[in-house]
Amino acid sequence: MKNIASVLSILLASASALAQSGNPYIHDPSSIVECDGKYYTFGTGSGGLISEDGWTWNSGAVRPGGGAAPDAIKIGDRYLVIYGTTGGGTGGGHASAIMTMWNKTLDPDSPDFGYTEAVKVAESLIDEDFNAIDPGVMLDPTTGRLWLACGTYFGHIRIFELDPRTGFRVEGNVGVDVGRNMEGATLAYRDGWYYLLGTHGTCCDGVNATYNIVAGRSRSPQGPFIDNVGRSMLEGGGKPVATSDLRLIGPGHFGRFIVEEGVEKLSFHWEADMDQSGRSVLGVRPLLWKDGWPVAGDAFEPGTYEIESQRSGYALELAVDFIRSENAMRGFSRTANDVPKVSLESQKLSEVIDTWPKGVIDARCGFHMGRTWQRWSVIPVPEAGGYLGGPYYKIIIEGTNRALAATPDAEVETVPEFTGAANQLWRIDQLTDGTFRIMPKEVPGHSEPLALVCFGDTTPTLAKFDFKSDNFKWDFRRFTPLK
């Protein structure tokens, strides 16, 4: 029974790492926006989700106007919420409009909460090759200009310019067609490139939905947007950004959240979460940039790993004696290779653990050997909450309860028993370059967030994160499933 409970616990932990926690049920979510320490996203219909920590989501966000697939953005000290008045034509006409409205706060319990009257900024006629729904907005960081992308599978994706001060359409602005047959379009900017992101495939078909997110890029926010093989998005092109997982089906409606330099998140919905009755749920994944293209990273998979410093290639380990493996030393002569091959056993925990001190053991980095003192089981701790896109984890030596911990003097050590204390809980973010940042939930006596850093080749410690330095970057290698 204990084993069954243990397996169930691990399965639950694994499942919780794949989808957001709480009741993250939403369709066509807006970009995630932070307001006074809480996270908000709005969906089709009238409401949306709120999260205190970015990991556990529940309904509660308020948006009037109905319609479909809104977007939201913070501009200055106000929030611009934008939506399409209809859900798009599926067998009828395609008259619709895009509306914008402001709010001083997104917290419906705040006395400052109250939307301005919505104004129309774009529209589609009843029968033209355009359907004004699914808006996505981007404030150009280089010019301060506010761009709106909208449209759907019926005809073109069109770009308009809005006034970031008023939320109105810029006077005289004429829409520019930049794509065809997509849903959930929006724009992003990075390193001199403008990206048009959209969703291809079939919406609203549960576990059979073929939704997938694609991108093209341009040097101008008004295109032309070209994909990785030279196809224009007006020609139906698009480089893949996010596709279905095994049990999470149909990602759609891209949203970008920049946490800080090098740490970005991609939000979207899964058309169906097969572990939640096939409901449409919020998805948040690391947003990576590979060769100038956005790519959704995977959810961190609980398991046992070696944790490799990108500074030195060394592995995070316990500062204990190197216990030599008892397998015989072999020569390299022909006769030495004439005997039959056998598979050598790996060194076991039981062969070394009694040589380790019983109390606190320092952490350090050493040569990758795949040895027991370098094998870390990374396991989510559901009751510990989370952060945008993930739960907190405990990091323990495989087969033990010995846990990595932050110390009051901002160093790292291992303690013999994981207690659930905040200094033993770790946040893991995959960075835009694909490597990882590892941060304790709390460093006793320190209010500033600190990250695991390799100060010298063998010396892990904690310091303020700097994306430009490989000292702060780690990789999780040689995965094996949790036992």
Partner: protein, 261 residues
């Protein structure tokens, strides 16, 4: 007798419901065709055309859409798409090279007019299937774009816009054999394509049109005439398709002419 009267009454009611302009009982004047398709197609003129700079074939004989009531695109599995397209709708469907103005007498599913003031299909659209006879006409056209905007071909001629099957055919004329080319097509939604009577490309499932969405295996465009025929089926949404030939390196093939006979 009573049954005969009732049958006649139903037939007359259906005939009235499917107006001549909606069903294509009468051939439209060329000027009306040109006006209806403005911005998307022009009447084909001149003895021959050429692929455009990117190799897209723009000159086609296109048949008025066949009504095939599909109010969802979820049905377009491989087997359904193939079966729906391969159904014999008119004689010479897979072999003939029609002329501009030729008529096909087709028995097809009746669909009520679409209510454009609604975003959804009318309730009647899901009524039990009724069959009607219609005269469908071939039109010799040049596309104004690299693709065939089949949806606007239908609406411009005041035909059924959703739940449709489009047939089109063209002739590729080569001065010599062109070996190791591939037919490259895209369609919204499913489509099948034949070169000289042989099936060479097939697309199924609900999808958008993408340039080079599917390519055939390597083919030879033979010296002389090559008949290229295609068919696109769609439920709701923006029907369209495109086609070109690519050489072994993926570059467009352009050294041929296009005629309609």
């Amino acid at each position: 007798m009573r049954n005969i009267i009732r049958t006649l009454f139903v037939a007359m009611a259906l005939a009235a419901a499917v107006s001549p302009s909606a069903s294509g009982q009468k051939r439209m004047k060329d000027a009306d065709v040109a006006k209806g398709l403005e911005g998307y197609f022009t009447l084909a003129t001149g003895p021959q055309a050429y692929p455009d700079a990117n190799g897209f074939i723009r000159r086609w004989l296109m048949l008025d859409p066949i009504s095939k009531k599909n109010m969802t695109n979820r049905v377009f599995t491989d087997s359904y798409t193939r079966e729906a397209i391969m159904h014999q709708y008119f004689p010479g469907q897979f072999t003939a090279i029609p002329k501009n103005g030729d008529v096909e007498k087709v028995t097809m599913e009746y669909q009520p007019p679409v209510d454009l003031t609604s975003n959804r299909p009318s309730a009647q659209a899901n009524d039990e299937s009724k069959m009607v006879k219609a005269n469908l006409y071939w039109h010799a056209l040049d596309s104004d774009h690299f693709f065939l905007k089949l949806f606007r071909f239908a609406t411009g001629l005041d035909k059924t816009r959703y739940g449709v099957i489009f047939w089109y055919v063209t002739v590729i004329n080569c001065d010599e054999d062109i070996e190791n080319v591939r037919l490259s097509v895209g369609s919204n939604c499913g489509s099948m394509w034949w070169l000289n009577g042989e099936e060479v490309a097939f697309i199924a499932t609900d999808r958008h049109m993408a340039v080079d969405g599917t390519t055939s295996k390597k083919l030879t465009l033979k010296k002389g005439k090559n008949i290229l025929r295609g068919c696109t089926i769609n439920g709701i949404g923006m029907s369209e398709c495109c086609a070109r030939f690519l050489d072994e390196t993926g570059k467009p093939v352009t050294n041929y002419t296009i005629t309609l006979d």
